[in-house]
Each structure stands twice: as structure tokens, then as C-alpha cells.
Symmetry: C2
Subunit: 226 residues, 2 copies
């Protein structure tokens, strides 16, 4: 990490090298841009280079979640990373290999390489199966199971400094910069708000070891995370 007091966009003045896994996704693509604007060096991890990132801080990083662990470790060792985000998802098309086991391999690789900080984009109540029969969630049981196994691994089987963010349904609405956390109902989330929350978790060490449910709300993001 490079400490700087000059870059005012950077929280706490720390510029990091960050890998975003799932950089072509709805959340990942925005997160890559947000982190780059904050001054971080961002590796946009995806199977194919399908998006054109124009910020010079962004580097395409080929990463195939179907590869075996050894290959994923080798890829991750090829850059010097301070933190990783997992925002990949198969949109129901390959839940076992991508959302569940792909995530596990990335965690195993992070651990093998010694990258401690790991921020996971999950889904509301993924660790609370007793809520999956509720109306909001009852059609995404397979997805919830995949996220359950991934989140569970991160909490119980890894030694990573994790934060798990669990928003409810994602919406293409404009961000308000205001959210609520520890929600008891699965309310909607603007993608901008989710991206902003993910980016601010990086500089909020109090979120380490926490599973945070969220939704759009009334509290400024930084304050909500505190």
C-alpha cells in the first residue's frame, strides 16, 4: 500500500491495488469505475474483456472462475493485490460453478496468496434460510443456496478479513447516497448505492468480520457503516 495525503479522493489516504472479480457485471462494472476514481489501481477481473474502461487506473484482468484453483492462484499471484471484491454472478445460469464454487476458489486463492481483505457482494438473507420462503425470495432458492455456501465458506472456512454485503433486489435507479443497514425486510437497492457502500467498506475496518444487510434508506452511507 502507498500512503498519500495528497489524493483527496482516497479515503484515509490509502491507495490500494484492488481486484474486482465480476467486473463485467451490473455491480462490478460500476464498482471498478468508482474505485478507480478514488485513485485506486483496479484490476477488472472477468473472463472476457467486454467492457471498455477508460480510466487509466483500470486494467483488464483475465480471470476464468471455471479454471481450477491452481490456475486461479497463478493468475492472482501475477499482480500485487491489497484487497479483493467478489461481485461475480452467473444470473442463474451456472450457480454451482460460478456463484458458489467459483467464489470458494477465489477465497482459497486469496488465502493462498496472502491477500487478507476480501469484500463479498451477496444477497439479502443468504445466510438465513428460514426466510427464503417469504414472498420476496421464494423464487430464488437456488440462487440463495449458492450464495449461502459462498458466504458460509467466507465466514467459517476462510481466515480472510471479510465483509459480506447483502442487499435486497437491485434496481437501476439513481443513487441517493443514503441507505439503511441491518434491515429486517428485503427492500430494494439502487445499484449506485450498493456500489458506493461496497467502495466505502474498503476504508471501514470496523466492517471486517461483519455480514451487513442493506437497502436504500435515509442515512448517509459512511454514517450507516459507522
Amino acid at each position: 500500500m502507498l500512503i498519500t495525503s495528497l489524493n483527496r479522493n482516497c479515503y484515509e489516504g490509502v491507495i490500494m491495488n484492488i481486484l474486482v472479480v465480476g467486473a463485467n457485471g451490473r455491480v462490478g462494472s460500476h464498482l471498478v469505475n468508482t474505485l478507480a476514481k478514488m485513485g485506486h489501481t483496479v484490476y477488472a477481473g472477468a473472463r472476457k474483456e467486454s467492457l471498455n474502461f477508460t480510466n487509466a487506473n483500470i486494467h483488464y484482468f483475465e480471470l476464468n472462475l471455471l479454471a481450477d484453483l491452481k490456475e486461479i492462484i497463478q493468475r492472482i499471484m501475477s499482480v500485487n493485490l491489497d484487497a479483493m471484491y467478489f461481485t461475480a454472478g452467473s444470473r442463474g445460469k451456472n450457480l454451482l460453478q460460478v456463484d458458489a464454487f467459483g467464489a470458494v476458489k477465489v477465497m482459497q486463492a486469496a488465502q493462498a496468496v496472502g491477500i487478507r481483505r476480501f469484500i463479498m457482494l451477496s444477497s439479502v438473507f443468504a445466510l438465513q434460510p428460514e426466510r427464503w420462503n417469504e414472498e420476496f425470495l421464494q423464487n430464488i432458492t437456488d440462487y440463495n443456496i449458492a450464495k449461502f455456501f459462498a458466504d458460509h465458506w467466507l465466514v467459517h472456512q476462510s481466515n480472510l478479513d471479510f465483509t459480506i454485503l447483502q442487499p435486497g433486489a437491485l434496481q437501476e435507479n439513481l443513487g441517493t447516497g443514503r441507505i439503511q443497514i441491518n434491515v429486517t425486510e428485503p427492500l430494494s437497492n439502487s445499484i449506485d448505492n450498493v456500489v458506493d457502500t461496497l467502495s466505502r467498506i474498503l476504508s471501514a475496518p470496523n466492517t471486517i468480520g461483519r455480514v451487513i444487510t442493506m437497502a436504500d434508506g435515509d442515512i448517509p452511507i459512511t454514517e450507516a457503516l459507522n
Copy 2:
């Protein structure tokens, strides 16, 4: 448990109440009969009563692996069990909900109710993803991932007295009563041999805490397990 020295069919003279989850399956249906012939009281756990078991020791036990944990616990509490087998599988049709998370819920229920002995039918190398690219296994990655999560839960997330049996491909051949264990290649297995091995694991406390790969072989089953 009822201790008897009269029942010569029963290993070590212990008659147990046993639940076989997946009693309509290729392995489960045979296992139910084998255990009943040994003198055990067997609860044939399945979603529907589709097989006619004629042995008076066998009782159909309705169990829906898609039910939530609370309901599964209530079902399992309705009988007094000494041990459980998990032999259920969706044959690729519902891997997340049956083979993976269904298994997890059954383990959680066993633990909640205080049934300690839990014997899992798994698949060869399910806990060794580095082998899944080999020819024998490369077309069943989704299945292996589902079994990986189930086995991993049993080893690392439960406190059950588990044994995991991992045979290679199952064949409808006649049993030979002879197997090999700790195999390094995924060779074929007669279903009879797998069933006999599962039944004998129950009276082999040295198998507790072990993951056992197997295939047809030259060693009598009891000897192989010792």
C-alpha cells in the same frame, strides 16, 4: 439401542433404529433391505412411498428434502433414531436443493435432535477438486460441487460422528463382497458392494471421522474396513 445376543444377523449384537434418507434411490432402496435383514428397524425416508418394502422391519418415513429445516427437524424428532444414512440424490435435476442443501439440512437436523452417527454416501474425489478434470469425472462437475459442499459441511461444520463413503461409478453388477479402499483411481463399483460396505460401516466405529474412497476389489469388505 437394544442390546441382544440372540440376533445372529446383527453385527456386534446391536439392533438400531436407522433412517435411510433417499430410500427410493438405487443405493438407498437396497440399503434399506440389507439393514432390515440384519435385524435393524429401518425408516425408509423418501418424499413419496413409491417402493413396496415387504420386510416388517421397514417403515416408510415421509421426508421432503425441500422442506425447511424446522419441518425436517420435526419429522426426525417423531421417531427415535440411533443413526442416519444419507443416500439421496436428484440425478442432476436439483443438485443445489437436494444433493447439497438438502444434505446440509438433514445434518443440521441430526445435530439438533442429537443423533450422532451419520453415514454419507458421496462420490469418489468429491473433496478433491484437483481431480475433477480427469476423464472419468470431467462431465459431472456440477454433481461433484454439490457433493463437495455436502461432504465439506459434514467434516468441518457438523459435530456428527460421520463416515463418508466415496465410491466411483455405480454399476448394476452383482456384488462380490470384495472391495478396495483408499483408491487412487475412480474405478467402478457394484451397487451391492456399496450397499454392503455402507451397512458394515455402521458397526465399524474405527470408520468414524473418516472419508473412505472405494471401488470393487479383492479384499473382503469387513477386512477392508478394518
